[in-house]
């Protein structure tokens, strides 16, 4: 019995070596079962966020994974929600309905092409547009805080159409 096993392992090794010469095996064989746990030679794997089981349901990370996006974007000097924005907010509403204790802040932002005070008001308008949509989707308005940053906190720092489009946004932030 022992002999046979040894022969099989050797044979397997030869095949593996031969295989390496042609192409890498698609899958490494599982390690042999051992009765005693080996010493911890490598650190515990870092949570890269791609393993669903490590994210706490109802947390900020969970929200970011489950919804289409945490933000919606707007046209110049507009607070209208287009189809894409409504779909994003629908996904946020679905998640928020699932975790009824979670409160959020919606941040309204503008691009740099408006004056400072007007942009504070426009950011409020955008944040409220998102808030009202979520409220209509069944999220209690008492769970939703809004804040406008006007043009004070751009996401993209360029002075070009792409940057401006990125900065005209309402971002949903989980506050617990």
């Amino acid at each position: 019995m022992l002999k046979t096993t040894t022969k099989l392992i050797m044979a397997a090794s030869l095949i593996a070596i031969a295989g390496c010469a042609k192409k890498a095996p698609e899958q490494l064989p599982p390690p042999p079962p051992t009765e005693t746990a080996p010493p911890q030679a490598t650190p515990a794997p870092v949570d890269t966020g791609n393993v669903g089981s490590t994210v706490v349901p109802g947390s900020r990370e969970d929200f970011l994974q489950k919804v289409q996006s945490d933000r919606v974007h707007f046209a110049l000097d507009s607070s209208d929600l287009d189809g894409e924005s409504r779909a994003i907010l629908d996904s946020q509403a679905q998640w928020l309905n699932q975790y009824g204790n979670v409160r959020i802040t919606i941040e309204g932002h503008c691009d740099e092409r408006g004056t400072r005070e007007y942009n504070l008001a426009l950011g409020e308008r955008r944040a409220n547009a998102a808030k009202n949509y979520l409220a209509a989707a069944g999220i209690s308005a008492s769970r939703i805080n809004v804040i406008s940053y006007g043009k004070e906190r751009p996401e993209a720092t360029g002075s070009d159409e792409a940057s401006w489009a990125q900065n005209r946004r309402a971002v949903t932030v989980i506050i617990g």
Binding site: T115, R116, Y118, E124, E155, T157
Partner: protein, 443 residues
């Protein structure tokens, strides 16, 4: 910091000199012609009767510094072509009231400022300031200022103000301060601090530490308070800042965002904007707090309110017609009339302290600073850069300060321009700067 009142005295310390009557003045500065012919004016170092050390430095050095400040003020006005102490030989103390007119005629100067700096027995300084018409060989005005040593620069500004006023017929504006937002850091995380300084950038001081975003500071009429917006506690609200104690106070309690504050000319009210359920309107509240009164009710964004100097009317911006435009209403909110009808959008209106004009930011391809009459006529654009925003008036209503933002970098700095639109200058600040507000003339 308590604002010291400067003591203005008739200079009687020197031998009396024949005082010319104002009607006899033969020179004046044409303020409408802009810089086409700035007046040549000579400002030699001001001598001291006896050199003495003071808390502000030796009096002979101060005499040169005072002349330099006067030179700088007058040059920055765009209306004068000064020959300053660096280009002129010193004059003797005995010449202060007896100018060497043949010499000054040769320099090409039309006007001459002479003066002196003297340390007094009680620790104060006296700055004497004399203005002469070089061709007519007459004295036009004389002023004396007694100051605590730490306020020596103010005496220099007062001297420049007296000369400017005498030669232009316009009100003074050099002895003033500016509150603004000092900026530093990357474009997406600017650190903003309230700062205060003299209008020429001297005596700079930070008022807040940069922990919270602060925006749009404006002085109260007596300069003892500043109203501004802060994001303290992630709640954007307007606050008053007591310049003397540094104490800050939230003006309107409640759940709504408040911003765009500005004092009424009598200091009793604060005009501001408040957003309720996404809709922004203009309100008024007592400067000591209390319940706000709503002045506008349009479903659009109504903001940027600014009182007329007599307090009877308010100019503001609203997008109720689709884009931002300027409107004027009575102080109680009645009789709202649109006044801007040009192409593009109009924002940040500010009523001139003289009452004759409204300054604004015009939004077209970029942002430009402009002025129009309160009826909306006579629109004139004064600047032409990528983004010039947020004008504030000098107390004499002849100069505007604003901030200019760079394309791409997002870096802003302070600039001034006079009503001719020609005399545009960078205002020096230690870091970047935005949201300037020019204070009233100091007492």
């Amino acid at each position: 910091m308590k604002q010291a009142q400067l003591k203005q005295v008739v200079v009687a310390v020197l031998a009396a000199f024949a005082i010319a009557t104002p009607a006899a003045a033969q020179i004046e500065v044409d303020i409408t012609g802009g810089i086409s012919s700035p007046m040549p004016i000579a400002i030699p170092t001001m001598p001291t009767p006896t050199a003495q050390t003071t808390a502000a430095g030796p009096t002979d050095a101060l005499g040169r510094q005072v002349a330099e400040i006067v030179t700088n003020d007058l040059r920055n006005s765009g209306l004068f072509k000064p020959l300053g102490p660096n280009q002129l030989k010193p004059v003797g103390f005995d010449q202060v009231t007896a100018p060497d007119f043949p010499f000054w005629t040769q320099t090409g100067a039309q006007a001459l400022i002479q003066g002196f700096v003297r340390a007094n027995g009680d620790g104060t300084l006296t700055v004497g300031c004399y203005l002469y018409d070089v061709f007519a060989k007459t004295e036009l005005t004389r002023q004396g200022f007694i100051v605590q040593p730490q306020y020596w620069r103010r005496a220099a500004h007062k001297c420049a103000d007296s000369v400017y006023t005498r030669l232009t017929g316009e009100g003074p504006y050099f002895d003033t301060r500016v509150v603004y937002v000092s900026e530093t850091g990357p474009k997406n995380r600017r650190i903003k601090r309230l700062a205060i300084m003299d209008q020429d950038g001297a005596n700079h001081r930070f008022l807040t530490n940069g922990q919270n975003i602060v925006l749009t500071p404006r002085f109260s009429p007596n300069e003892q308070a500043i109203v501004y917006m802060s994001y303290a506690g992630n709640q954007p609200r307007i606050y008053t800042y007591d310049v003397g104690s540094g104490r800050q106070h939230m003006v309107v309690q409640g759940a709504s965002t408040t911003f765009a504050p500005r004092f009424s000319p009598d200091g009793r009210w604060i005009l501001f904007s408040m957003t309720v359920n996404g809709n922004t309107d203009i309100y008024r509240v007592s400067s000591t707090g209390g319940t706000p009164t709503r002045l506008t009710t349009s479903p659009g964004i109504d903001t940027g309110g600014s009182y007329s100097p007599d307090g009877s009317r308010i100019v503001f911006e609203s997008d109720r017609s689709g884009g931002q435009q300027l409107y004027v209403m009575n102080a109680d909110g009645s009789n709202q009339q649109r006044i801007s009808f040009g192409g593009g959008r109009y924002a940040t209106p500010v009523w001139s302290p003289k009452g004759d004009l409204i300054a604004f930011t015009k939004l077209g391809g970029g942002f430009q600073i402009g002025v129009m009459s309160p009826s909306g006529s006579n629109e004139k654009l004064l600047t032409n850069a990528w983004q010039d925003e947020g004008p504030t008036w000098s107390p004499n209503g002849r100069v505007l300060m604003f901030f200019r933002t760079g394309q791409g970098s997002g870096k802003a700095d302070l600039w001034s321009v006079d009503l001719t639109g020609v005399n545009e200058r960078r205002v020096p600040t230690p870091l970047d700067g935005s949201d300037p507000a020019w204070g009233p003339l100091l007492p």
